[in-house]
Amino acid sequence: MSANYPAFIIMVPFISALLIFVIGWWNKRLSCGLVVAVLATVFLLSIGVMKDVMANGTIRYWLGGWEPPWGIEYVVDYLNAFMLVIISFVSLVVTIYSKKSIEKEIPDKIVPFYSLYLLLITGLMGIVITGDLFNVFVFLEIAAISCYALIGVGRKGASYSAFKYVVMGTVGASFYLLGVGYIYLVTGSLNMLDVAEILPSLYGSKIVLTAGVFMLVGIALKMAVYPLHAWAPGAYSDAPSAVSALIAPLMTKVAAYLMIRIFFTVFKPYFFVDVIPLASILTWIAAVSVIAGSIYAIAQSDLKKMLSYSVVAQIGYIALGIGLANEAGLTGAVLHILNEAFTKACVFMVAGAIIYKTGSCNILGFKDLYRKMPFTMSAFLIGAFSMVGIPPTCGFFSKLYLIIGSIDAKQWVFVAVLLTSSILNVIYFFRVIKIAAFEDVIPDYSRTTPYVAYRLDEAPLSMLIPILIMATGILVCGVFSPEIINTVIQHIIPASF
């Protein structure tokens, strides 16, 4: 039974995505409960797989019993298992949150919404779990197509943002596919581990160089690294709040995972460092991404848009860690994936809760929000601390490792970039907090009772609890980050460093 967990992780949400139509046709209100049950199962399965990996090492699951490299195999090592747990946990928490939010934002499309939602999660899990290059493309597109549809039902003008994402996302996936094609051309194999064995003898070949470049550009497009980010802010800010809270933490992080795979598993790290200097190009692009994303974020007056640009900036950190290609850099990048997933889920859920209560997320309208929604805004504060990198939160540790990585690589510019970006994060996050905490609504003295009555006006519990879980998660991950590094991330670092 437990040997088949990797297959269940994909099949359970996939089949439920179809089943939900049957259940939803019978009773619409059950669909959310079903999704929660399914994702709880998936979460437990992921934990099971993680334990199995920790006990027995890498799992190689042959789908349908077909031996690789002919058949598709699911490979679960520490990195995959880590990602599986993150994805299933974040999506489970966001699902609990989504119920109220979706009932308010798109009440007539609940059943198809949850069906697409599960398909999206299936796609994300699939990208992570599979050990086959072409299978990655298929799952990438499953995730992307359901994501386009989910964004399209969002607030005013979402269809245009979704359309932009369709065009750019398709180009990204197509470039990746082209890279896979070139690799297949020279190696005759699609299995990642098999390809990794064959490729080193072919590193001189121009075809392999082209393949590497195509794959990285394609993934960078999906990751929304700075010059290729144009789709991300619109798509993330116009999507329904629950969808933003799901895709902003997960979509780009899964693409980042894929980049780590391509960099360190399919190709050997020295390919991108010595054979073609893509790693150093990536670090510079990432540095620009960090600064540009933060500056754009400062310029926004809409909270969701600001957070979306923050995603672009934060993905820069991860890309920087990958591009540095040393131990501390990669540790920082992987830890930052976890940190970003939690933090972005937390702050996007807060944005959704504010929209739920006030109908808008224009930052200037946030006055007195701390008195009305103290719990929600406290969670936002923790999220902001994590973004800035203040010690007990997890953001501090990942930034620390990234800075150590930059120092190890003797790249002083990146140290400066990382520190500067913290200050920029302070500017745009604390601006929100300043307005919400310290700017009072001016009392109306013309009235007989010249004071503003402050009433607690919190988001409903089913939205508040997930937000608080995420906020706690940020703190817990921060406090236990040495343990996380020692038990998991340490094993992700390739031996060749």
Partner: protein, 135 residues
């Protein structure tokens, strides 16, 4: 010249892909962008399919078994050189499905955009969105 003619299939794929890319970047009309996107994907399919071709009369890999051996093949009688590589075709079947789904969703979004903005011209939509944001 030989270089171009001998590999003409790859040249066609590159040209098609560039036309698609040009369509996506340069055309203002969103429907034309979708056409460009589809061309781009089709070019990749052409690339994959043409990698599986072998010269010298290779054919589809249908191996006829020997009836005296219960349908099994006599060892040593089947040579890979006689058959096309079927895998790229299979991969592209999946890619076509993906392409159709992407196309479908792009067109559905176009319909919603047209309903909302009354136009499919990119610059006009951007203009309307700017005005809406200013309100």
């Amino acid at each position: 010249m030989d270089f171009i003619i001998a590999k003409y299939n790859y040249w066609i794929y590159i040209i098609l892909m560039m036309i698609g890319l040009y369509g996506m970047i340069a055309k203002n009309n969103l429907a034309k962008k979708v056409v460009g996107m589809t061309l781009f994907q089709t070019a990749i399919i052409l690339f994959f399919i043409s990698t599986s071709v072998k010269s010298g009369g290779a054919t589809v890999p249908i191996v006829m078994g020997d009836p005296h051996l219960h349908g099994h093949v006599i060892p040593g009688t089947v040579h890979a050189i006689q058959y096309l590589n079927p895998l790229p075709h299979v991969l592209m079947l999946t890619a076509i499905v993906v392409m159709v789904a992407t196309f479908g969703i792009a067109v559905a979004l176009l319909m919603r955009i047209y309903k909302r903005y009354g136009t499919l011209e990119g610059d006009e939509i951007v203009e309307i969105r700017k005005q809406e944001a200013a309100l």
